[in-house]
Amino acid sequence: AQRVTQPEKLLSVFKGAPVELKCNYSYSGSPELFWYVQYSRQRLQLLLRHISRESIKGFTADLNKGETSFHLKKPFAQEEDSAMYYCALRRGSSNTGKLIFGQGTTLQVKP
């Protein structure tokens, strides 16, 4: 069965500190991995896709198939990064678009 695990419920850092939000997955095939962000009481927004290998708002994430991880990183956290972050997996062969989400990690960036 496919599963996404985000071990930290809450991550609290000071402004300017590096951030790493952990995500591990279990899936035997070729997954597609994503990071979604939800600012306070707003809709979920796509932040990153592993396929595009992009950097958005200073965040990057690398898919490590050996460790089955897709950790989200940012070298210098900003207060506006405070939000809920969800790691999500989609089966590579799926055309239903079903996303399997991790439990979410709340990032709190203190001034």
Partner: protein
């Protein structure tokens, strides 16, 4: 110009009532979804429709019944509401399941008292 809109935004109702949440998308997408975000912020898919046809039906009590009158609309009807149904319900849509096109609504916060 809202892409995926849900109504109502907030819904407070008593146990045992029947209620509906509506979702509409103006993106021309062919696939729509309902996700539930519980009190612990855990987000899980409930249903998916593609061109008015049910394609995903997770283990959800049959008190929940989705209805898609056309591919731009996916409504969620809940019978005999229970306290445990309190959650935020998110509608989403995609174009042929493509991840890049995944767009979420702003959510409906349902509180059952």
């Amino acid at each position: 110009d809202t892409a995926v809109s849900q109504t109502p935004k907030y819904l407070v109702t008593q146990m045992g009532n029947d209620k509906s949440i509506k979702c509409e998308q103006n993106l021309g997408h062919d696939t729509m979804y309902w996700y539930k975000q519980d009190s612990k912020k855990f987000l899980k898919i409930m249903f998916s429709y593609n061109n008015k046809e049910l394609i995903i039906n997770e283990t959800v009590p049959n008190r929940f019944s989705p209805k898609s009158p056309d591919k731009a609309h996916l409504n969620l009807h809940i019978n005999s509401l229970e306290l445990g149904d309190s959650a935020v319900y998110f509608c989403a849509s995609t174009d042929k399941g493509a991840p890049r096109s995944y767009t979420f609504g702003s959510g409906t916060r349902l509180t059952v008292v």
